[in-house]
């Protein structure tokens, strides 16, 4: 999962408290903790979702490009936007092609399989980490970095 997220970037979705979804793209993503993903975002990219996040922190995201089908996972958690500090500065250095305006930090709480078929919608974060790694390796042979 880490390999796909960091290689492809992600499509990120937020919603207003009334349930209007907004989708943006982050072309630079880093797994910053085992249960946290941070997105370096340009002004327009964060602008699409920042209004919704300010009222409702829920975020859902999936891997962009071929990852939409090869990395069949949906990640959910609570997001916060940061515009200053060491966290932002460190990530900006790693993202030279991005005109960084902000970093979206998402603390993950839910993980789902989105592979079509019997396992579609299966919740995976209920597994122990080792079991989840084994589950992933048993199904995918082209995981980046593995």
């Amino acid at each position: 999962m880490k390999g796909w997220i960091e290689l492809m970037g992600c499509h990120v979705c937020a919603a207003t408290p009334e349930g209007v979804p907004f989708v943006t793209v982050s072309r630079f993503a880093r797994v910053t903790k085992p249960d946290q993903v941070s997105f370096v975002m340009e002004k327009g990219e964060i602008g699409v979702i920042e209004g919704a996040i300010s009222k409702n922190p829920w975020i859902a995201f999936g891997v962009s490009k071929q990852g939409g089908i090869r990395a069949a996972f949906q990640f959910k958690g609570k997001g916060r936007v940061i515009r200053s500090g060491q966290e932002l500065d460190a990530l900006k250095k790693d993202a030279p092609g991005i005109l960084a305006d902000a970093v979206l930090v998402v603390d993950l709480t839910e993980l789902y399989c989105t592979k079509p078929g019997a396992e579609a919608g299966q919740r995976l974060d209920i597994m122990a980490p080792d079991a989840m790694n084994a589950w992933e390796k048993a199904r995918w042979t082209d995981i980046p970095g593995k």
């Binding site: 970037g9 499509h11 979705c13 937020a14 919603a15 207003t16 408290p17 009334e18 349930g19 209007v20 979804p21 907004f22 989708v23 943006t24 793209v25 072309r27 340009e42 327009g44 990219e45 602008g47 699409v48 919704a52 409702n56 829920w58 975020i59 859902a60 995201f61 999936g62 962009s64 490009k65 071929q66 990852g67 939409g68 089908i69 090869r70 069949a72 949906q74 959910k76 005109l99 989105t114 592979k115 079509p116 078929g117 019997a118 579609a120 919608g121 199904r139 995918w140 042979t141």
Partner: protein, 161 residues
């Protein structure tokens, strides 16, 4: 009112016919978002996107209570197809009245054309380790598009239509 361009119509087809993989985003009424990739996609007229209801779970639950929906091009990205389509969607399932109308799209017309999508456009381009073992279509989601935005790098968030 939006009008799809020819480029958009070409992009909003199954990948095996030169189209795109898409992300479909919905939300519960309480604002919990959901985003899932879809392969079976098509357009209907100049302002509607069709998506096959096959293995939909949260997406379906959300649409049952909240029609707000966004569809974004997932793959290929950064190749001139960087759009998000926003509007209101419904899942036209088998059993709907044939006369049911969603912003001008009739249930009978939609299901007659797209109700057996896996036969119409079989997933020949999908690798065998990903393709579903057996099609299980229950309907067709129809998104009535009201706004189109860019997700092109440097232009994300700009309204196109």
């Amino acid at each position: 009112m939006v009008t799809f361009t020819d480029e958009m119509k070409n992009a909003l087809r199954v990948p095996g016919k030169g189209g795109s993989l898409i992300y479909m985003a919905t939300s519960s009424l309480e604002g919990k978002p959901n985003i899932a990739a879809m392969r079976f996609v098509a357009t209907h007229g100049n302002d509607k996107i069709l998506v096959c209801d096959m293995f939909l779970l949260k997406t379906k639950m959300n649409l049952k209570e909240n029609p707000e929906c966004s569809i974004a091009i997932c793959h290929p990205l950064d190749s001139g197809r960087d759009w998000v389509f926003k509007g209101k969607a419904i899942d036209i399932e088998y059993g709907f009245s044939p006369e049911f109308d969603w912003y001008g799209a009739k249930a009978k017309e939609i299901l007659d054309m797209w109700g057996d999508w896996a036969t119409l456009e079989p997933p020949k381009e999908v690798p065998p380790d990903i393709v579903f073992p057996k099609p299980a279509q229950r309907g067709v989601v129809v998104l009535h598009v009201e706004e189109i935005y860019s997700i092109e790098k440097g232009k994300t968030g700009e309204r196109i239509q």
